[in-house]
Symmetry: C2
Subunit: 124 residues, 2 copies
DNA sequence: CAGGATCCGTCTCGATACTG
DNA sequence: CAGTATCGAGACGGATCCTG
């Protein structure tokens, strides 16, 4: 059995790897879209406004590789591809929700802090 | 009073802004270092292994701007600068802890999923 | 419909050199 | 000691064109 360092200062640290994934631009949005159930590629593309084909595909591939999402190709014409959160993926929703709620509840303070900081900068 | 969209698909969304900050390479590590109390610049630099001066300074400035960290310059020779988490900053430790524990508990599944995925890729 | 391939600008990050 | 300034490589992300 392999053990993983709890030391966050290592590149191999679980937190580092998760944050690298979660931190990129579209991952969380895609997970959020899939939280409601399976979705087709095109539906996700429309739901996640502003995402390019390239980025959406790349994000989905990463999620699939990490076992957070399953990709199902239906043999139809035209092709239909469904994406769905795995149990692991659904399990991640809760921790992300914690972060989301924190952000929602404290963003006001952060914005205020930024304004104050920038005002101080302005005066030198 | 300003309200902020709960819609994560907006760039102005609190979650987006928080994730942009949390997602970058050094932020979480620096917060982790400061979780134990105030630290001097040099101490942080040594604790967060691999960080460059530039990145550390930039990270600390961002945290300061967001009101998560205070910067205190002591008039001494040589200069001494202490960084300390604000209440808001300390408040963020808990949500990050949730994510950290999730990562620790599930990284094994993710690594296994990656291995399986890559093996499948290999065979074409 | 669901991508794959390619080009290209932007931004991030690290290394290095210098400073009050 | 605690930064600032500058440069260059590479990653990231968007737009466009093409395909089974």
């Amino acid at each position: 059995m392999t053990t993983y360092a709890a030391d966050p200062y290592s590149a191999a640290c679980p937190s580092r790897q998760l944050l690298d994934r979660v931190g990129d631009k579209w991952t969380v949005l895609v997970i959020g879209t899939l939280a409601g159930g399976p979705r087709r590629y095109g539906d996700i593309a429309r739901a996640v406004e502003g995402v390019s084909q390239k980025m959406l595909t790349q994000t989905l591939r990463h999620l699939e590789r990490d076992g957070l999402v399953t990709r199902t190709v239906h043999a139809q014409v035209p092709v239909r591809v469904d994406y769905e959160l795995t149990e692991l993926g659904r399990d991640l929703i809760a921790p992300l929700g914690v972060l989301h709620r924190w952000a929602r509840d404290h963003i006001g303070e952060i914005v205020a802090a930024r304004a104050a900081y920038d005002a101080r900068e302005q005066r030198g």
